[in-house]
């Protein structure tokens, strides 16, 4: 009998196809909005995780800037309070239990790089060649080779530096000038993609970077460290922070340095994303409420139009519960049809979106999300249709037939 009721509901919905279409449209907009916003949120989460994984799960970085200035680094330039990291700090970090290794690096920010007649300001890193692969685990060589300890005035450049920044491609063997000093390109890296990759970087030896950097001899731009596998990353991070606080003579909360690990970054990013998802969910929830009200409105209109039909059904012996079911199936179907179209529509938009985003952000519409969207739409239909359906089933037969 349930199948018959479905058939009955489908017949009614197709008969009033324009009203059905407009109501379904409301559901499509609401559910698609939620699905797409959640896809963006999931995609962001996934992209950030992938980017952080490139950084190396066990790797950490210590920067000579305070947490507060790091958080305000999105503000106007100049708000960043400059602090210092010393060579002696490297030893302090190495001595923390759970730290496998630690090295200092020299950052070459906004460094003048010349190739033939062109010049650009690029970022570079001065690092000991033997630890390059440890701290940049995802870099892969495309042409040439990585730096070696025996190298002198040699440089490895990122994919974009070689192929995109300058008008003419830089080849292995080419000479470029970094801060007016000539370096021979010995390697070009594979394209890493994403924002945290090495595509726009140049890599030279630590000593040579120090020579062209304005940094004091007892200072480093950053300390890279690796945490042993068997240790808890956040615990070791906390110990590193304590060791440096002691070394710098600062209290907790007043640190002039920031320790970053993939784990801690992931945690804070996920926190932010959680709020973002909640906010986006609430915004798209409003459109869903509108969709639900659309169903309710449509069902009320349907009852008003079909009062007579309800009276006929009752007069020929159809029970209250059957009438309730008929109307609930109708509203549930509106929700379900809207949900199916919304899921298909969202999948198409996600596919198109991913083509345009070229991997910089991968929108994710998971199977769970799609099924959730469908179920949610169906339930939305049932809930929105319940009050009108109840009202229809409660109608007095003589009132409905206009016989009073």
């Amino acid at each position: 009998m349930l199948l018959d009721k479905f058939e009955y509901a489908v017949k009614t919905l197709t008969h009033h196809y324009l009203r059905t279409f407009l109501t379904v449209l409301g559901v499509i907009v609401g559910v698609s909005a939620i699905l797409l916003l959640l896809s963006i949120s999931l995609g962001l989460n996934d992209t950030i995780e992938r980017e952080l994984d490139k950084f190396g799960a066990n790797n950490g970085i210590i920067l000579p800037i305070s947490q507060s200035s790091l958080s305000s680094s999105f503000g106007p330039s100049g708000t960043r309070i400059s602090s210092k990291l010393y060579i002696t700090d490297i030893q302090k970090v190495r001595s923390v239990s759970g730290v496998e290794s630690a090295v200092g690096v020299i950052s070459l920010t906004s460094t003048l790089v010349q190739y033939r007649s062109e010049e650009f300001r690029l970022s570079g890193v001065g690092i000991d060649p033997y630890v390059l692969k440890t701290y940049y685990p995802n870099i892969a060589i495309k042409e040439g080779r990585l730096l070696q300890n025996s190298d002198s005035k040699h440089v490895v450049i990122g994919y974009n530096v070689a192929k995109k920044v300058f008008n003419r491609n830089i080849e292995v063997g080419s000479t470029i000038k970094i801060n007016d000093q000539s370096f021979t390109v010995v390697g070009i890296l594979e394209k890493s993609g994403g924002q945290a990759g090495s595509d726009n970087n140049i890599f030279i030896k630590y000593d040579e970077a120090r020579a062209i950097s304005s940094l004091d001899k007892n200072q480093v731009s950053a300390i890279y460290f690796v945490i042993q596998d068997s240790f808890d990353i956040l615990t070791v991070q906390s110990k590193v922070e304590t060791a440096l606080r002691n070394a710098h003579g600062v209290k907790k909360g007043e640190e002039d340095f920031t320790v970053i690990t993939a784990e801690s970054t992931k945690e804070s990013v996920q926190n932010i994303l959680g709020y973002l998802t909640l906010f986006l969910g609430a915004v798209s929830g409003i459109s869903l409420v509108v969709g639900g009200l659309g169903i309710m409105n449509s069902m009320y209109m349907s009852i008003t139009e079909r009062t007579y039909e309800i009276g006929v059904l009752k007069s020929i012996g159809v029970k209250k519960n059957d009438i309730l079911q008929l109307f609930l199936i109708e509203s549930g179907l509106i929700g379900l049809i809207g949900g199916i179209i919304a899921v298909v529509f969202s999948i198409i938009l996600v596919i198109i979106g991913n083509v345009f985003l070229e991997g910089s952000l991968k929108l994710l519409l998971t199977m769970e999300l799609a099924i959730g969207g469908l179920l949610f739409s169906f339930i939305l239909g049932i809930i929105s249709g319940y009050i009108p359906a109840k009202q229809a089933s409660d109608l007095d037969v003589l009132d409905a037939l206009g016989r009073k």
Binding site: K11, G311, K314, I316, G317, K319, R403
Partner: protein
């Protein structure tokens, strides 16, 4: 088997219209036997349709008792009343009361759908009934494509779908031309001959001549009863 199918004892029906009480039935008592064809006549507002509504369980009596096959049906739950309407009673209304979006066959099938008949079975029953009322050629027509007489035939076929023992018809010829009206009355006579108990409420002056008994009702009470000789 007891011959009496319906016993109405001192039934009263009072409506409330705002602060005004309207006594539509003022103590009606009536016995109806199996296989009878009865007409209830009276002027507008006499209470004849109210009586039919009460007998047909579309409305509860304010007072009094109605026994259907010996069982008191005057105080039943809504679902119990719906069940009796669906299984024992068949309604024919003046305005046909067909579902406009459904074809003849679908309209006749609707009562069967809610009483557990398979689609094949109810289609077969509906086809047979529509053929019986002379609409075998209009199975797939919607009400808007049918004449008044044809619509009333569909309504009669629907009333017969669940094989009811009693057919209640409220002004069944009221919206029809005389030719169609006569054809519908002939159909009722035919059904009565097949053993159906039929109660007709009417203004039609021809009807009392055709029925075995005529109940004249006025101001909510039975004024007189005339049996056909």
């Amino acid at each position: 088997m007891e011959n009496n199918i319906l016993r109405i004892t001192d039934v009263k029906k009072r409506y409330t219209l705002g602060e005004i009480y309207v006594n539509a039935l003022n103590g009606v008592s009536l016995d109806i036997n199996r296989g009878e064809l009865i007409s209830i006549v009276g002027p507008s507002g006499s209470g004849k349709s109210t009586l039919l509504n009460v007998i047909g369980l579309l409305s509860e009596p304010t007072e009094g008792k109605i026994l259907l096959k010996g069982k008191d049906i005057s105080k039943l739950s809504e679902d119990e009343r719906a069940y009796i309407r669906g299984k024992t009673l068949g309604f024919v209304f003046q305005t046909f009361n067909l579902i406009p979006t459904f074809t003849s066959i679908e309209n006749v099938s609707v009562p069967l759908m809610f009483y557990g008949y398979s689609k094949e079975k109810r289609t077969k029953i509906a086809q047979d009934l529509l053929t019986k009322v002379g609409l075998g050629h209009r199975l797939n027509s919607k009400p808007s494509q049918l004449s008044g007489g044809e619509r009333q035939r569909v309504a009669i076929a629907r009333a017969l779908a669940n094989e009811p023992e009693i057919i209640l018809a409220d002004e069944p010829t009221g919206n029809l031309d005389s030719k169609s009206g006569t054809a519908i009355l002939d159909l009722f006579l035919k059904l009565n001959k097949e053993g159906k108990t039929i109660i007709l409420v009417t203004h039609d002056p021809k009807l009392p001549n055709l029925t075995q008994r005529t109940i004249y009702i006025k101001d909510g009470v039975i004024e007189k009863e005339v049996k056909k000789k």
